[in-house]
């Protein structure tokens, strides 16, 4: 019996979330290749350099917020239902959050597309970070707020399932997948307070003319209060996959369940009090708070380094179960022709590279060399753009048959797709990192200047541009291959042949009972997380507010 037969309502919600997610992926990827060709001056016929910023806003919002987070809500709905073995409790509640998220995304998306389509009377060329005093149309902020509240309700839905499960299973440990969902959502509730206050108290009333000024440094700080933990909101579903599904795909079992829980607790505790590391270059923030954010950020390496160990150990265990031998020779025994395995594993490999460039970003003084250069998008295309995105695509190959009851179509395309993505990202990202070291700025339609030629870049300017253009094109091809497989499978008929996959997950080699019970007590971990946030953000925010909530203020400047 597939998931869709056991839980048809939940399967439908998962399909709908994935549907919105993949639509966003298509538009975002299309905008991505247009940018890659435009800014490298390979082809500038699609858009003008002014419209470039509309396309860039769309690329950021559609991919970083909507593709990733609609995927998360789909995946977590599956994970909670699958691991608690019970359907969601109220379909009207579930539909409420899904529709809020969908309509919120629609409003924001339409406001952005207004920059390309003259018939739409809105504009929101403010990029994914929407820093004041740049002003978007109010519908842009309103859409984001509605979407955000939708994500909160989604979390409430999963917690509700958990509490119902708990009332019937009082002595048991929380199933690992549900544990991960809960840790992730608690982190999200804490982190999104920043952006919720930014939008609801400041930017939305300001864009409507109800208040005349906002403090740009305060709103920017509130954005980054949310803007770094959102990174973990992209990453934690990938970790969820790497810990709970990837070992099975490799042919084995998870190495350690307790360590997986510890890793998610560390993310809950440390994800939020780090946002100032995006503001190392900002005036108005005392060095001490930048320093505190830096040390917290460095400690955030710990859960990722622990993950590297546990995931690799689990994969090795799987390979040896499959008959793999030798110190490194076991790798040959892995199912590299299974797209779900290959995609998730290549994504993890690339995340290691992204982790190293992230360590450079986190270094308070090294950051002066790379801040706002092309190095930074080079970094996060390895993390969210591959560790998350490629894992999501890969696990779709495994999950889609279970939520549709249909065998995966175009299996050959699916098999090559992760390699196309990996190759494209290798080309694009290494070139972006090198260009950034020479000072080429990010977020620029035409990085060609009279006073700077960036000739110090290793390999030369023409070479790095070509790698970005070719890499970006391959990535777009990778997205199209993925979508062809998804659409082909969705359109296929049911019942043709047996499903090749199932959602049964074997327990870890070291099970949850090997860990102290306090690990499952989220009250403790949430309290610690709140204390750290108050220490990191309390004093600076109080000092920003001391000269007036809206001062030093700036009036809105539409762009």
């Amino acid at each position: 019996m597939a998931f869709v037969d056991d839980y048809p309502d939940a399967a439908q919600i998962v399909r709908l979330n994935f549907g919105v997610s993949f639509l966003m992926l298509f538009v975002g990827a299309l905008f991505g290749v247009i940018q890659a060709l435009h800014r490298t001056n390979v082809f500038r016929g699609f858009i003008s350099s002014t419209q470039y910023y509309t396309v860039l806003t769309g690329h950021g919002v559609f991919l970083a917020l909507f593709f990733t987070i609609f995927f998360l809500t789909g995946l977590f709905t599956w994970g909670v239902v699958n691991s608690l073995e019970r359907p969601l409790s109220s379909s009207s509640f579930t539909w409420t959050w899904f529709l809020m998220m969908a309509f919120g995304a629609l409003f924001t998306g339409v406001a952005i597309l207004g920059g390309l389509v003259p018939a739409i009377p809105f504009k929101a060329n403010v990029l994914y970070t929407f820093y004041a005093p740049m002003k978007a149309h109010p519908i842009f902020y309103a859409g984001l707020a509605i979407w955000l509240v939708g994500t909160w309700l989604a979390g409430a839905d999963w917690f509700r399932s958990f509490f119902q499960w708990r009332s019937e299973n009082s002595g048991e440990r929380i199933p690992l997948q549900t544990f991960m969902v809960m840790a992730t959502m608690l982190m999200w509730y804490l982190a999104t307070l920043g952006v919720a206050v930014e939008i609801l108290v400041f930017l939305l009333p300001w864009s409507l003319g109800i208040i005349s000024q906002v403090d740009p440094l305060l709103t920017r700080t509130l954005f980054w209060f949310f803007g770094h933990p959102v990174v973990y909101f992209w990453l934690m579903p990938a970790y969820f996959v790497w810990y709970t599904i990837l070992p099975k795909l490799a042919g084995g079992r998870l190495f350690s369940d307790p360590l997986a829980r510890v890793v998610f607790i560390l993310f809950l505790i440390l994800s939020t009090p780090v946002g100032f590391h995006h503001q190392y270059m900002d005036p108005g923030i005392p060095e001490g708070f930048k320093f505190l954010a830096m040390s917290n950020t460095m400690f955030l390496l710990l859960p990722s380094l622990l993950t590297a160990f546990t995931v690799v150990a689990s994969i090795e265990h799987g390979a040896r179960q499959r008959g793999g031998k030798g110190r490194l020779g076991w790798m040959r025994a892995l199912p590299w022709d299974n797209p779900a395995f290959a995609g998730a594993t290549l994504a993890g490999l690339m995340f290691a590279a992204g982790g190293f460039s992230g360590m450079v970003n986190a270094g308070l003084n090294l950051n002066y060399l790379v801040h706002n250069t092309l190095w930074v998008p080079g970094h996060f295309h390895l993390t969210v753009g591959t560790a998350s995105a490629l894992t999501f695509m890969a696990i779709t190959y495994w999950l889609l048959p279970q939520i549709t009851g249909k065998r995966l179509q175009f299996y050959g395309l699916a098999t090559v797709q992760p390699y196309v993505w990996f190759l494209g990202m290798t080309l694009m990202s290494n070139a972006m990192h090198r260009a950034g070291l020479a000072g080429v700025p990010r977020r620029t339609a035409e990085p060609q200047y009279q006073n700077v030629d960036f000739s110090s870049v290793i390999g030369g300017v023409a070479e790095f541009r070509m790698q970005i253009a070719v890499g970006g094109t391959l990535l777009f091809l990778g997205a199209v291959l993925f979508l062809a497989v998804v659409v082909g499978t969705m359109m296929a008929e049911r019942g043709r042949g047996q499903l090749r996959v199932n959602g049964d997950i074997k327990p870890a080699l070291s099970g949850p009972d090997d860990s102290p019970r306090i690990i499952d007590d989220f009250r403790v971990w949430t309290a610690i997380a709140v204390v750290l946030v108050v220490l990191a953000y309390g004093p600076p925010i109080v000092s920003f507010l001391s000269n007036g909530v809206f001062a030093p203020g700036s009036p809105p400047i539409p762009v």
Binding site: T50, Y53, L56, N125, Y131, P133, M134, P216, L217, R220, F255, S256, P258, Y280, M281, D282, P283, G284, I285, P286, E287, K290, F291, M294, S295, M298, F299, L301, L302, L305, L306, F309, T310, A313, G363, L364, N365, Y368, L369, H371, N372, T373, A438, G439, V440, P441, R442, T444, A445, E446, Y449, N451, V452, D514, S515, P516, P552, S554, I557, V559
Partner: protein, 173 residues
């Protein structure tokens, strides 16, 4: 809770790496003295800057280069859509071997002030003054680019710094 022997080793190595990183950053800040942008520059009234009323601002001056000591200079820069004042219409000229403190603010939206290929990099935030001290040892021309998106003409926003030999220096601008 049982932790595998290799996992323990890995954990210790990971913690050593993290502590090592924090130590190098601390050394960079405290030992080498790499200066950082912080709250030292104070705040200004963004609207006064927008209206060129620099005299009314205790933390700011008319944009330009001011000599403050033997080899010391202050440079006040206003970033606005889509130019640096000074820097864009005429280069910021400085003598080699000088120590220069930049005071950077914005007249409209957030901009970036990046001397390309160096670690001179600061955000220009309306209402705030970014203060950063730099040593210019070698003569030559340095490009300034705005590295924070600031509107439709963002990609045209650039300027330059001209560092000339001490003997040829004839006051700022």
């Amino acid at each position: 809770m049982e932790i595998h022997k290799f996992e323990k080793l890995w954990l210790v190595a990971a913690l050593a790496l993290i502590v090592g990183f924090i130590a190098t950053v601390t050394y960079g800040a405290a030992g080498v003295g790499i200066e950082m942008v912080d709250e030292e520059g104070g705040t200004v009234d963004a609207e006064a800057i927008q209206n060129n009323e620099y005299g009314s601002q205790p933390n700011f001056k008319e944009p330009g280069v001011y000599q403050t000591g033997q080899n010391e200079y202050d440079v006040y820069v206003v970033s606005q859509q889509f130019l640096f004042k000074p820097g864009t219409t005429s280069p910021i000229t400085l003598p080699a071997g000088s120590t220069v403190t930049f005071y950077i603010t914005s007249a409209d939206v957030i901009h970036g002030f990046e001397v390309a290929g160096t670690n001179v990099n600061a955000m220009a935030v309306p209402g705030q003054v970014a203060q950063i001290t730099v040593q210019f040892d070698e003569t030559g021309q340095y490009g300034i680019v705005c590295n924070e998106y600031c509107g439709a003409g963002h990609h045209t926003m650039e300027g330059s710094i001209e560092v000339v030999p001490q003997s040829e220096y004839e006051g700022g601008q």
